[in-house]
């Protein structure tokens, strides 16, 4: 999976003052901090750039790749694709499940990206970002990815979805 696909985002479009806060890049402190956080969490990781990291885990339902991208203002964690649509429209039950799960999952959200794939994201502000946020994000992603995979497989029905 190419990082550009995994972490493609549109620039946030917030009105007024918030718009001026959005700058892309990563400060030096964060570039030093993130590897230390990975080490403390005990997960292996691959540093692709100073602002881009790849890690992953094996759960009960499969292996999942997590990408972390840091900017001046935000830290993004994502499993993308969580379920690959393979160019087919997602079935209505899967869309409904995704939106209903967004009520129950804390910190994280399920979404459909521009390729039509289902992804699982955590987005946190860089200001005040601490180890507990980092740990919460990885824990949430790994827990929710594994917990809800079978429900998504069922909701995908015969159109299937590639396990990634």
């Amino acid at each position: 999976m190419a990082p550009a696909v995994a972490l493609r985002r549109v620039a946030p479009r917030l009105p007024g003052r918030a718009q001026t806060l959005v700058r892309w890049g990563v400060d030096e402190d964060m570039a030093k901090t993130l590897p230390a956080y990975f080490d403390r969490y005990g997960w292996q990781f691959e540093r692709r750039r100073t602002d881009l990291y790849r890690t992953g885990f094996a759960g009960d339902t499969g292996q999942y790749e997590i990408w972390l991208r840091a900017t001046d203002n935000w830290v993004y964690f994502t499993i993308n694709p969580y379920i690959r649509a393979e160019g087919e429209p997602l079935p209505t039950p899967a869309l409904r499940l995704l939106l209903e799960l967004n009520y129950t999952v804390n910190l994280a959200k399920f979404l459909v990206d521009n390729d039509g794939d289902i992804a699982l994201n955590v987005e946190l502000p860089a200001e005040g970002f601490s180890y507990s946020h980092f740990a919460d994000a990885l824990t949430a992603l790994s827990h929710y990815a594994d917990e809800h995979r079978r429900a998504f497989d069922e909701a995908m029905g015969e159109t299937g979805g590639e396990v990634v």
Partner: protein
């Protein structure tokens, strides 16, 4: 990041506590000049004015989170949301930085922002409410249109 933080085996969180943080939020509302009313000891209610409407938002403080929500963002249509509306909302989650779109247990669509209370900054409240206002405004008309299309397609 300090060495203490890295080496602390107990991962002790240093949040201010929900009550103290809620009082801080009240101060932020006052500083920003935004109207609000209390809706419980740890919940504030405010109105967010967008170009396409005014939205009622609740800002709730818990031990670990500050949650700002517009619910209902769009009330459940008769028969529930149809395929076009569901696809629109699922894709909206990709466009919406910070914010999350979903369906609650009674079938209403909601829009929410969740931020950790630890390290909560004044700018976070501003960004959260700005995001809610922006995305509520951005998604309202397309969602109403999607509901209409679903109804025309029948079954919703």
């Amino acid at each position: 990041m300090s060495d203490d933080e890295l080496n602390d085996p107990d991962d002790v969180r240093s949040g201010p506590g929900p009550s103290a943080l809620c009082e801080r939020l009240v101060g932020m509302f006052d500083d920003f000049g935004w109207p609000y009313e209390r809706n419980g000891p740890l919940t504030l209610r405010t109105h967010l004015g967008g170009e396409n409407g005014t939205f009622v938002a609740l800002v709730r403080v818990t031990e670990h989170w500050v949650v700002a929500t517009i619910n209902p963002f769009c009330a459940r249509p008769e028969g529930g949301f149809g395929p076009v509306a569901l696809k629109l909302m699922a894709g909206a989650n990709h466009l919406a930085n910070m914010a999350k779109v979903g369906i609650d247990p009674v079938g209403d669509a909601f829009l929410t922002v969740e931020l950790p209370s630890e390290g909560f900054a004044d700018s976070h409240l501003y960004d959260a409410l700005a995001a809610l206002t922006h995305y509520a405004d951005q998604f309202t008309i397309p969602l109403l249109q999607a509901n209409r299309i679903d109804r025309l397609n029948g079954g919703h």
